[in-house]
Symmetry: C2
Subunit: 480 residues, 2 copies
């Protein structure tokens, strides 16, 4: 907690809030507006705890349900975050990710310009190809495919994926090992519980990594420990006692390096020596621009690595479709755990995706978007070299974002706030550290999120936002 | 465990098995065939534990992975069941449900005739209407709908459902309280963890109830206690200390009665007196034939009842689409728990369903299938009164199945096996009891599962199967 809860309590009992409520029509809408406004104006700041709905209801003489609904609405909008049984807090500044690992519609996301990370250009979603594939799947699927089938997922999709992953990512896989999920977060929720069930109590996660993944692992009852990342990627020295790692080998999230060959060997060596398991989050492995594609880590040790992929970056996050490739000895418990969580993507969607893979439409779409994102990356690098030549972007060879280290003394939150004020959604590096205290500041620049028509303007705003930083940079020492 | 594990061990070390393996091509395929054949021929019987994959691999000089993959394949086919970290066993006879609460493709499901419960006629799925709605949704959805949005689910669908549920089921609901799920099992997995998070450790479930729901609750860390059911439905006396119940008020599963008005009042009274919560599983509430629809229990106490619905019976189970209506005070923790499990249906599917509701196509489909299932029920009752007049079917006023009590001394497993031998998939009542010891036997007859062309023949096989029972019945006392 960055500041005392009393600030939020002071806000709750302020005359301004009561005045706002008295002025407006619907009390719930008025309360929502008042909270939004307090957050936008920084009277409530990121991580500030809000009073319990019961306490605030008493304070404001509202029904508790009214307050709870307002909190839920604002949580849905990304202004607030809630944990089961825990305190409701103001969400991290800028865009925020909810516990699903899914960026929710946030205050920032409604800004006109965006360079957020973790989101592809959904305006490029191949609607016509998807619609054609869906109609074909629906026309040809025998009726029993609409009843429940194989708990691993539709055989057609598992077959098509196995071929695709062998061909494009060097994954060593038989269709029998593929387990279809509702996206990576769901796969991680399944795996964490499977690990727990097999007696593991701890998961090492790269530091930094996606914060919502830490939340999911903790929510599954695992202790999360940091795994250091250097310029070669994750180090091969997990804390003693650790037997499971979550890695992003293709393009470290969010720092952007590719896991070095020597590190790959060392990490597999660690796994073999410690009866360890590595979960490979191949979230944007399809996008590599400068070299030959780097194969999946799984190909080096199919018995030690669980490979996880998703269409969230290649097609659209809202499809909620992903897959795990599971070593045979873990297949039964993984499928059983999936059953206990009760979720699976629609068979129609699974068959549609199988059709998209089989027809070649998926490959064509990935190639098309790869070219497009490469152009965007080149434009971004051009702009940075022109307007912020002192800031060297990292992680440019692959993926959908780059990282900018910030000079010491430059506040990443200040830049994110400044960008938001200028209408641009940006992500700071801070929330991705396990503990950001003492860590250098940075900005992650996602060049995929904006639709085409807004990309150039998003870059122009970024140049504006970075201008004082680079001026300052010229006066400062470069951070080590 | 019904019989000693040594039987499976004897089977594992039998010459017959080794002979089968030596004869065949692929060793994994051969092992699968040998296990299937042992189950079909009753050498391995329901609930028999199998040797661990390690032990069987040693016994047969196979790679452990080969055995694990064979077990996974047979689990997927429904021959075997596996629990995380537990023993692999032969699945219950006839159809079996996996831990998702979802009937998997089973040995029985591949029989030519079926009167299984829990499955609608998927050949009646409105493919054309779904395809039209999907294309419209895909044509009209703004791109940001393909990025992640409200963690409760798509607003369009929550709005459409709120109206639909108010109108057709008397649910007291605002769209803000609707949480979209990947079907009832997913909703139950979310709710059980939400209850745990709020300090509850126990869930009372009707006795009998769907066995896979017990598995999901136990898997979420709840203790499951039985709630007695009499001819008026669930009793209003949960064991002391219980504060949460799972009920099927519209059509008790599997016994079939509608929860009596007095019982509804008494259960709400219990909830108010004990700060209790009731989860209302309205799994087939759309199907009522003889009276005015009975409204949802939730309408009597919207603050005490969490309403749960699904398209699994009205459209198709493989859509994996359901919804919860959550009291406002539970909304935040429920949404947060949903986030921790990481799953949600595809936005395209959610928007398609919204379109189907808004266009009236869903209502038309439900009316059409209601008429059709009513005709099927009438045919079933006709046949029973002709061929098994001593067996009074229960639960005929609603839903998609009836229950036949069996005379004492008649083995339900024997009938299910006999039916399977004649090509008919049937479900015994036994697995639905928390503990079937001392409980009367019964058969559940699902009249929705078969496609139209196979329904009459399924009934004809049923008449054959029941013939010796009714002869025997004439010699026996009726069970009390």
């Amino acid at each position: 907690m960055k500041r005392a809860g009393s600030i939020a309590n002071n806000w709750a009992s302020s005359d301004a809030l009561k005045h706002a409520l008295a002025q407006r029509g619907g009390r719930r809408a008025a309360l929502e507006d008042a909270i939004r406004s307090a957050i936008r104006s920084n009277r409530l700041r990121p991580s500030d705890p809000l009073p319990s709905s019961r306490a605030l209801a008493r304070e404001l003489a509202l029904a508790r349900g009214t307050v709870a609904e307002a909190y839920a609405q604002l949580t849905a909008e990304g202004y607030l975050t809630a944990r089961p049984g825990g305190t409701t807090r103001v969400a991290a500044g800028g865009a925020t990710a909810d516990a699903t690992g899914t960026t929710v519609a946030t205050a920032a996301a409604r800004l006109p310009f965006t360079l957020e990370v973790g989101v592809p250009d959904v305006s490029a979603f191949p609607r016509a190809a998807w619609s054609t594939a869906m109609r074909r799947a629906l026309r040809t699927a025998p009726s029993p495919r609409l009843a429940l089938g194989d708990p691993r997922g539709a055989g057609e999709l598992r077959d098509a994926l196995a071929g695709h992953l062998r061909r494009t990512r060097g994954v060593v896989v038989d269709a029998g090992q593929v387990v279809i999920t509702c996206g990576f977060s769901h796969g991680l929720a399944i795996l964490c519980r499977t690990l727990r069930g097999s007696g593991l109590d701890c998961l090492a996660m790269e530091d930094p990594c996606l914060d919502s993944h830490r939340t999911i692992a903790t929510g599954a009852g695992l202790r999360v420990v940091p795994l250091e990342v250097d310029e070669q990627g994750a180090t091969a020295e997990p804390p003693p006692g650790t037997r499971a790692l979550l890695l992003t080998p293709a393009h470290q999230f969010p720092l952007g390096m590719t896991l070095a060959p020597g590190r790959r060997t060392a990490l597999i060596g660690w796994a073999n020596a410690h009866d360890g398991l590595i979960v490979e989050d191949d979230y944007d492995g399809e996008y590599r621009y400068d070299h030959q594609p780097v194969g999946a880590l799984q190909g080096l040790a199919p018995d030690r690595v669980i490979y996880a992929g998703t269409v969230s970056k290649t097609l659209a996050p809202a499809l909620r479709l992903g897959w795990l490739v599971v070593p045979p000895r873990l297949l039964e418990p993984t499928v059983a755990t999936k059953g206990l969580l009760g979720a699976e993507p629609s068979a129609i969607e699974q068959l549609t995706m199988a059709e998209l893979l089989q027809s070649g439409a998926y490959d064509r779409h990935v190639r098309r978007t790869r070219l497009r994102y490469r152009h965007r990356r080149d434009r971004l690098l051009e702009l940075l070299s022109e307007h912020a030549p002192e800031l060297t972007p990292r992680g440019i060879a692959a993926g959908l974002h780059v990282l900018l280290d910030l000079p010491s003394g430059v506040s990443e939150d200040g830049l994110v706030d400044g960008a938001a004020a200028a209408g641009l959604a940006l992500n700071a590096l801070g929330p991705f550290w396990h503990d950001s205290a003492g860590r250098p500041g940075g900005l992650t620049i996602g060049y995929a999120a904006a639709p085409d028509h807004a990309y150039e303007q998003s870059l122009a705003v970024l140049a504006e936002v970075l201008r004082p930083t680079t001026v300052r940079f010229r006066r400062c020492a470069r951070p080590t």
